[in-house]
Subunit: 542 residues, 2 copies
């Protein structure tokens, strides 16, 4: 009896608004505001970025007829006021987008009259517009903003909330990349880490070395021209998303050897490729040859110009020593230079590449092996991307480096698909599948307590590697699991009282976000039977 | 040097034709036949099924511009003859489709002139048309049938090659079901096991009990009318696919209780649902009440008429004894009948349902628990569907029952997605993911040696349960892994010499089938980096 009384009481409480990711401060009232038409206007001069976003969100909110799954039988809400438009006020028109960009905003929705969105930068306005779009729900034949008056004050916890997409192992059309950027913006993510080339393919135009695309792209159609890349960067920027490209050196470069075999070591060793590379085909730039440094530096020269972000990823993961130890040129050189070895050659090679990158004015971004699996000491402004295990983040910040975590045990969204070598009926090293609960429960700041070290944590990145993915499956591989990471990176792990948010308490909101994304054309996968989504708590483990 | 000589030699050999599933006999020559236009004609009077299929395949072959990934750089083949049309000769116009349907066919493609497809039944003709469609590939600006003359003589190993789709936990639109049936036909599969209702929803119209759909469908839109069902049956039949519906009793019936609570036991026990059901919500037909038998029998009466196949699935899986042991009516009854118990009640209940089903002229199809986890002895014409482990098939045939295997360890294609209870960060009982290699390596006849017992094996069924699936992801969850099962069920496990076919040797053909399906609008997932598909053998485990 008591339970049903409580249930009855809860049912009478105004609808709890389910914005994803959850805003930092979210005060709501007990009235409802009718919405007859969506008009969004600006005060003062606003940037094209904001004007474009207003047009986009006007269209989204107008066409969307969204009701949370748990509200499927909600009766038409009685409204006691009427929405009279959203006024967007942006302090600055500066469209600079980097790690320091202020993404904060506030929203006030009165019971009646004009609502206000205030932001310091165009990108704060974008985040606020996304939040606003999620406040408007369907109400019978009309729309409503429930639980007014509303006051939201919001800003991200981490400045780097990324998604890593490997477009080399399998190709992704521009259309699928644009759709992914759209989906990222619905979750306030702000970094597209474009893992654009890898051992298997070089799907991007090169003006310095046209042979790379000619021989390295799967086909002319399956590659990105300069114009394509510029279009992606622009499309991303309009959604407040930075594009950081990765040109991985010296490993993962077999494809370079199809154009320039003379630069390479251990090209496509068969059948024992596993002695020379993490996966086939093997091949690494030959670190004893000055030409391989020159090649890498020319690649840096070319693509630091094409890609405008001030951070540039130079890979550095999974280099294989045996590949060089057995290389005839390396062996001959070391015979003549007994004080050197493969390790010293690699340190020297890294130094030349990183020094050159510094001359372009960009900050280096590298996989953690550059720091931990070699004797090289990267420049202190280098950002380290960790992936190997939970100790990587504390180890990185204790060395004074800034860090972004793509912990493979939590954030490798391609995992859980078993092996992909056709003569092997077994699991993959990165199985099992990372459920959204597992993604959500990861804490990048776990085991870091020092305040200065905490400041070195820039954020997190989910990764989709493409051994078993391509554009046919990209939506469901990424979403809504990437959204789970997005909330922990935006809102943080803890509520205002310091309690760690549980997956149980956020599940209903994530269901909503999943269905919202499906409505917006993103084939995010279902999390549960719809019955469970409609009956929050009824599908919990006892 | 020797290796490259061999490679050179292989390259000069005529293209190996890659039909999936592989025909039983496949002789090919060393000429190539140019194809200027696709004309398919029939000899004599043919059934509407065949005429419809000819029209479909005419359109497919005409619009398809297919080249196997490994042939990406194939030079234009020189042709020494010209295709002058396919003549389809079908002995019978009998459109009966059941376990005994003859699906055999032969195809002869001469180097020049008319090709011939001969079949005993319309459904054999359909299988042959699919094979024919896979023989035609792109050749520069034209089309070609490579490696002529071709003689194919083909027939299935197993007569039941099924796909089980759960449209209850989450809904699937007709469009997605039609697409799935198309994909099945591309792989010569012939049974759509429509798991149409379950605990979470009753998405099908009932004329006997309209309340079931009214209260049990997720919405009016998310359900199947009689007309919808008839359309699915017709669409399937036109592709040589039988539709076997499943109305699971007495377990998995919570949703019945939303309309008829008086028929039920242990309705939606919370929070300890795990004591009463394999998953929430709990609820089983109350086996002590005569009304529950009457209900089941009326369901059988209604749906054995709507669904025309002569096999009807009555579930019988995962019944929970505690659900009944604690039921007040059951307890009261057993108090008055000390010689009975829950087990005897269940046996009696099963008997009444199966006896009633027999009066409709249909054969029962049930999950293996009916046979193994109760004291009930089903009628000998019952087909048992096994899923629990590898011992289930030999156990079933040793008892003299016909069997279809959906071994969960190999054929549950939803597995590998981790847990779906939102407060549990762990794996699922049916993890890990079943790779296509794992699917392909399963042998339904393993551990069965007796010839008569082998005859009782009707075939196999992959299953897609929908706790974490719906129409947004159905293509990639099913394909191409269901195709891997399809080949083992059609062609069998062994080649003509008796050697078990390995995943290594079929990988290239499966890649082709995957890309062919993508070209035909099925978002089958990629198996490997395209580089591996283009370089057969280069991505094998050493």
């Amino acid at each position: 009896m008591k339970l049903s009384a409580i249930v009855g009481f809860l049912a009478a409480v105004p609808t709890v608004l389910a914005v994803w990711p959850l805003p930092q401060t979210f005060d709501q009232g007990s009235q409802n505001t009718g919405v007859h038409s969506i008009n969004i206007i600006t005060e003062g001069k606003t940037s094209p970025i904001v004007r474009g976003a207003i047009s986009r969100y006007h269209s989204i909110v107008n066409s969307e007829s969204f009701l949370a799954p748990a509200d499927y039988d909600r009766e038409t809400l009685k409204t006691s006021g009427m929405f009279a438009g959203l006024v967007v006020c942006v302090e600055s028109n500066d469209e600079q987008l980097d790690l320091d960009t202020d993404e904060s905003y506030t929203i006030d929705v009165p019971v009646s009259g004009k609502a206000t969105l205030k932001a310091k930068t165009p990108y704060g306005a974008l985040r606020g517009l996304e939040t606003f779009s999620q406040l408007v729900t369907s109400n019978g034949y009309a729309k409503v903003i429930a639980s007014t008056p509303i006051h939201i004050a919001d800003a991200p916890t981490y400045s780097h909330r990324g998604l890593h997409l490997d477009t080399a192992r399998n190709f992704y059309s521009l259309k699928s990349i644009f759709r992914t950027l759209d989906a990222m913006s619905y979750n306030k993510m702000n970094v597209f880490h474009w893992h654009i080339v890898d051992a298997q393919a070089w799907p991007v135009e090169s003006k310095t070395f046209p042979e790379l695309q000619e021989k390295g792209a799967y086909s002319a159609q399956m590659s990105y021209s300069y114009a394509d890349v510029k279009q992606v960067i622009q499309y991303a920027k309009e959604r407040g998303i930075r594009v950081i490209p990765e040109f991985d050196v010296p490993g993962h470069t077999y494809i370079v050897g199809t154009a320039f075999p003379e630069l390479m070591s251990c090209m496509n060793k068969q059948p024992d490729w596993d002695q020379y590379a993490a996966e086939p085909p093997s091949g690494q730039l030959n670190i004893v040859k000055p030409e391989s440094v020159e090649f890498a530096n020319k690649i840096i020269d070319e693509y630091t110009k094409l890609f405008t972000d001030d951070i540039f990823h130079v890979g550095g993961d999974e280099v294989n020593r045996k590949c060089w130890e057995e290389d005839p040129d390396v062996k001959a050189y070391l015979k003549d230079h007994p004080n050197e070895d493969v390790e010293s050659l690699l340190v020297d090679w890294y130094a030349k590449v990183h020094e050159h990158l510094a001359t372009t004015g960009k900050h280096a971004y590298t996989w953690e092996e550059t720091l931990f699996h070699s004797n090289y000491t990267p420049p202190k402004d280098t950002i380290i991307q960790t992936w190997i295990d939970g100790e990587s983040v504390p180890k990185t910040v204790s060395k004074g480096y800034r860090v972004v975590s793509s912990n493979s045990d939590s954030y490798y969204l391609d995992c859980g698909h078993g092996a992909w070598l056709p003569n092997f009926d077994g699991n993959s090293w990165c199985d099992p599948f990372k459920t959204w609960m597992h993604v959500y429960n990861y804490d990048v700041a776990a085991n870091v307590t020092d305040a200065k070290e905490l400041e070195l944590i820039l954020g997190t990145e989910v990764a989709l590697w493409s051994e078993q993915s391509d554009e046919t499956v990209v939506d469901s591989r990424l979403w809504p699991r990437a959204a789970a990471m997005a909330e922990t990176a935006w809102t943080g792990k803890k509520d205002a009282s310091g309690k760690v948010r549980t997956t149980e308490e956020v599940a209903s909101r994530l269901h909503e976000q999943r269905f919202r994304m499906v409505g917006r054309g993103i084939n995010a996968e279902p999390l549960q039977p719809l019955w469970c989504a409609r009956n929050p708590g009824a599908c919990n483990l006892p």
